[in-house]
Symmetry: C2
Subunit: 304 residues, 2 copies
């Protein structure tokens, strides 16, 4: 039984089409198809099945693909081990993030990394995209979820928590609530809100506020971009829920943040990885730096 073939099956499970696997592994679709055929012949039972013009795995195929992950993990552990012997976290690591986390963490991380470890970053809009799906393409995926919510369970991905960031209420200077130490759900009814695009995780907290206060919030605008939201708040067009550590980057002093009490108001920032990639020494190094940087950010907001 050949590992490369198993790996191909796993890629097929992750990416869903022969062409995608071929593209990802720098091969022609024909080569992939041939190898899968050999694997199937060796297995002695059908692993794939045509569906329309595409190809889906059978139950047996899925099971095999799952065990292929274990093989990949132990293999990655082996390579990591010998990287440790040479103690060089070399190579390239790719990463996607949603904008605010990237702005908060990445500059600090990249400065810490040695010259022989290249970190290729990209950003993706969190609402448009399925975070776990990116683990096929990128080594590390920075994602956020609300606390308690286990959005990424059960897919067999490695999840490393990086930080929990409070979500505060953002107010313009001079707002009646701006003198308060904290605000509660009842203080917030009657305000005009700048909301996030539908489906965005912050949504849940706004619903919780409504539930707690017993009234609907009036939502005038809906944006995805944080800087845009903030500019509206600063302009006095409404108030908004904003992440504590990443807000006010552009115009400091013109936005007032108030902790929200009575409601669990925070988001979890995590790193998602395919288990085998998580074992790579270079990846582990980056993760450690991400954790350190996250701790640093958190500390700098609590101490001064």
């Amino acid at each position: 039984m050949d590992v490369q073939r198993l790996e191909l099956l796993r890629e097929l499970a992750d990416r869903g089409s022969v062409t995608a696997v071929a593209l990802a592994t720098h091969r022609t679709p024909s080569a992939v198809s041939q190898q899968l055929k050999v694997l199937e012949r060796e297995a002695g039972l059908p692993l794939t099945q045509r569906q329309g013009r595409g190809l889906v795995l059978t139950d047996a195929g899925r099971a095999l693909a799952r065990s292929a992950t274990d093989v990949a993990v132990s293999l990655a552990k082996a390579t990591a081990l010998w990287d440790e012997f040479r103690n060089q976290a070399s190579g390239e690591v790719s990463l996607v993030t949603f904008p605010t986390a990237g702005q908060m963490l990445l500059p600090g991380v990249i400065k810490k990394l040695g010259a022989d470890l290249v970190l290729n970053c990209a950003d993706e809009d969190p609402e448009l995209s399925d975070f776990p799906a990116f683990t096929a393409e990128y080594d590390i995926v920075l994602a956020h979820s609300m606390s308690g919510q286990l959005s990424w369970a059960g897919r067999g991905l490695t999840v490393v928590p990086l930080m929990t960031e409070p979500l505060d209420v953002g107010l313009p200077v001079g707002h009646p609530l701006a003198d308060r130490v904290w605000v509660g759900p009842r203080d917030l009814v009657g305000e005009t809100w700048i909301g996030v695009t539908d489906g965005y995780p912050f949504e849940r907290i706004l619903h919780a506020i409504e539930q707690e206060a017993g009234a609907r919030l009036s939502m005038s605008q809906r944006f995805a971009d944080l800087a845009l939201i903030e500019s509206f708040v600063i302009a006095g067009l409404g108030i908004a829920l904003v992440p504590r550590y990443t807000s006010g980057g552009g115009q400091p002093g013109r936005l007032v943040l108030k902790p929200l009490r009575g409601i669990e108001s925070e988001r979890q920032i995590v790193a998602l990885m395919r288990p085998d990639r998580a074992e790579r020494l270079a990846v582990r190094t980056v993760i450690e730096e991400l954790q350190a940087e996250a701790a640093r950010v958190q500390q700098s907001h609590t101490e001064p």
Copy 2:
């Protein structure tokens, strides 16, 4: 990084020479040497080292070989999984045993196995040979050790206990002690003993008897073969320590067995395997049958 090459490194760790690896993997020594060279070049650090006319692993090499085992295990699990899908424990399984265990267990086991699972058995003299070393050559190694003694720890082998067999005192019919229900160390001084060859595990118990009784035992002969020992006992030339379930096979009724009290007198019969081979479905099937047969033997000696 290639798995086949890693596997070769592991074989080298197990077998100790390029030639042996080549022989075991049906290749020429040159091919093995070349692959190891490639692996070393990929690793970027020396994995092997010449010693005399042979080749030994460096620390890094040993570490890599160890992690290669994990890879082999997960790979074996994958193949086992798909064997389960076809539910066929097919293929061949090789086994070595020491004579008495083979005589006790193997006939029953082989009868239970299906026609598509071939069990190739061989026997080896336990005193001459290093049991763990056989795991390189055979899938399953039946070995015995005294209770409490962990002869096969720390080599990274899978150990499956099959049974604990009491070691009784074998007497000729008509012997003064033959009427007793059991015998103690003190009853046994003054007797003439038929002993086992030096280094044999039974040796320990004889020493324990001497220690307990406070006197040396007179040892007239030393044999390795159990049937030979028994024939001496039956002929009235002495008494001997014999395993309860395997003795008296040849001449029933002419040998009397008495339990030995006051001393832990039993041997542990175990199956030794390389971890990866232990995962194979066919191997697991044989192991299960071995356990069942062992239980059956044990039961048939306690009940009637």
